[in-house]
């Protein structure tokens, strides 16, 4: 019983992390056609700014992480305004996010007073607090609960924005058919900043949520980002619910193989690839067209 609860909670924890990152990627990809590789880099930048303010400058915790996330949002807006907008093709913008990723990972070392940055402790005020689960010899830490809560909030928020708000509907229209969206009078110039700001802010938020659970360093999101990328595949880089489903499935599979089949070495790390093959075969069996970037035949 305890083992099952354990599996579920750990699976959910990592599933949430993958989902957060993967959703940010899908959001950007759908609306702009750009694969945002910079996710890890932005998170690191925001995380270190918050850590700097909190531990080096003595800001209280919440204003510090708020500032970190704001910086991430601002970075998103600037990136959109000065770089993405200048690049006509999404594929070029994808490469630009890659450059940004390298730049930011390095930046953490370049700032002199951040010094050597591997593994900084950045505790939330809820460190070392946990809630026991009734009926099982197990507990969930507050930090984990906050992670779950935030993921739920983000889901709900995103759902609301995409369904009920003008800009959200515009985002969906753009992702469905950018040309038709233009014909409706939707200005990319207004949609794109929202998307980029949201995505970069999400990266920042993800770091803030993870830092108390893990340590903060310049690669803390990279490993997760790689797995999240494979998860986006499940939803074909389009469907948000499928992406989340894929994320949770992947983490559950990983955790349960590690806990129930500890002797099958390497299986848990092969899951991203195996899932990918399953998705491919399923698509193939259904006769769905091969996944590719081309959406519409030339007019």
């Amino acid at each position: 019983m305890t083992k099952l609860i354990q599996t579920l909670i750990i699976g959910l924890e990592y599933g949430c992390v993958y989902s957060l990152i993967a959703m940010g990627m899908v959001l950007v990809y759908r609306t702009t056609g750009v694969l945002n590789i910079a996710h890890g880099g932005i998170g690191v930048l925001a995380g270190f700014i918050a850590w700097d303010l909190n531990t080096l400058r003595g800001w209280p915790y919440f204003p510090a992480i708020g500032a970190g996330i704001l910086v991430a949002v601002a970075a998103g807006l600037l990136f959109e305004r000065f770089i993405v907008r200048r690049l006509a093709a999404p594929a070029l913008a994808t490469v630009a996010t890659l450059a940004l990723f390298l730049l930011l990972q390095g930046l953490v070392f370049v700032v002199p007073w951040w010094g050597n940055t591997w593994g900084q402790v950045f505790n939330s005020p809820f460190a070392n607090k946990q809630v026991a689960i009734p009926g099982a010899d197990y507990s969930v830490s507050w930090d984990q609960l906050i992670l779950f809560g935030n993921v739920l909030l983000f889901f709900a928020g995103l759902y609301f924005i995409l369904r009920r708000t003008r800009v959200g509907l515009a985002m969906r229209a753009v992702s469905d058919d950018p040309t038709a969206a233009r014909l409706m009078g939707i200005r990319q110039k207004l949609v794109a900043p929202v998307v980029w700001g949201l995505a970069f802010g999400l990266s920042g938020l993800t770091t803030m949520l993870l830092a108390p659970i893990l340590l903060l360093d310049n690669t803390s999101l990279t490993a997760f980002t790689l797995k999240a990328l494979t998860v986006t595949f499940v939803g074909g880089l389009i469907s948000l619910p499928l992406t989340v489903l894929g994320a949770i499935t992947l983490s559950m599979l990983e955790v349960s193989t590690q806990l129930y089949l500890p002797n099958v070495k390497g299986l848990s790390d092969a899951w991203p690839f195996l899932i990918l093959i399953v998705v491919l075969v399923a698509r193939f069996a259904r006769g769905t067209k091969a996944l590719e970037d081309t959406a519409v035949a030339p007019a």
């Binding site: 509907l169 229209a173 469905d176 038709a180 969206a181 233009r182 409706m184 200005r187």
Partner: protein, 246 residues
């Protein structure tokens, strides 16, 4: 109302429109016909701001912007080829996007959609359904309805009939005619299957190899089968018939 002077469009080194002139009066239905590759779609896309072009396009004497998202705000709506609904959005949401340029909100949307639902009752039945799952005809209704919701002075419709049953085409054309009569919305119809369009149009342009080879009353074109034939069958005949050029 809508005028184009010297409209030129090129894909790379290949010119597809060689400086054509168009005039559409207020409340008029005009057909733009011609064979495959004559440049019809390019004309529409250029006017609507989807294609970079040279030449002057004005609406009510005012130069149209060159960006599609701005053109629609000036009161020109394009229904592009291929029934481009937003497939993952519901019918309602699609319609709402149509009203986007008029600052539409969910509030009061029912009243605003009412005229559309009245013309296309099928859409009302399926208002919550994903647009991607509608049939071809329904999708065409949706894109037309969507375009009308921006309350345009003129609507440009590209290949209304493509892939639709003749009966459905007829229904749609009748609807357009009705809307035109009731609201006074001008309409530029691009059609490859000319006969149906020519039925409701008052005047027509015949386009061939990027040039206007005929402009005049639609009825004449409709009745004079020879002209139409020559236009579609090749330039030899066309040159012989060039006498009819205005």
């Amino acid at each position: 109302m809508l005028t184009a002077r010297g409209l030129t469009v090129a894909y790379g080194p290949v010119k597809v429109l060689h400086g054509i002139d168009l005039d559409i009066a207020s409340g008029e239905i005009v057909a733009l016909i011609g064979p495959n590759g004559a440049g019809k779609t390019s004309t529409l896309n250029a006017i609507a701001g989807l294609l970079p072009h040279q030449g002057e396009v004005t609406l009510d004497g005012e130069a149209l912007p060159t960006a599609a998202e701005e053109v629609v705000r000036k009161g020109l709506a394009l229904v592009p080829q291929g029934r481009r609904v937003f497939p993952t959005m519901s019918v309602e949401e699609n319609l709402l996007m149509g009203a986007y340029s008029k600052g539409a909100r969910w509030k009061g949307s029912d009243e605003r959609f009412a005229p559309i639902y009245e013309i296309f009752p099928r859409l009302k039945e399926r208002r919550r359904q994903e647009a991607g799952r509608l049939s071809g005809g329904e999708q065409q209704m949706l894109v037309i309805g969507r375009a009308l919701l921006s309350q345009p002075k003129i609507v440009l419709i590209d290949e209304l009939s493509l892939g639709l049953a003749p009966k459905m085409v007829l229904t749609l054309l009748e609807t357009i005619q009705r809307f035109n009569a009731e609201q006074g919305t001008a309409c530029l119809l691009v059609e490859q299957a000319a006969t149906a369009a020519l039925k409701i149009a008052s005047s027509a342009y015949l386009l061939q190899r990027g040039e206007v080879v005929y402009h005049g009353p639609a009825a004449r074109l409709r009745d004079d089968v020879d002209v139409l034939h020559s236009a579609y069958l090749g330039q030899g005949t066309a040159r012989r018939e060039s006498a009819i050029r205005r």
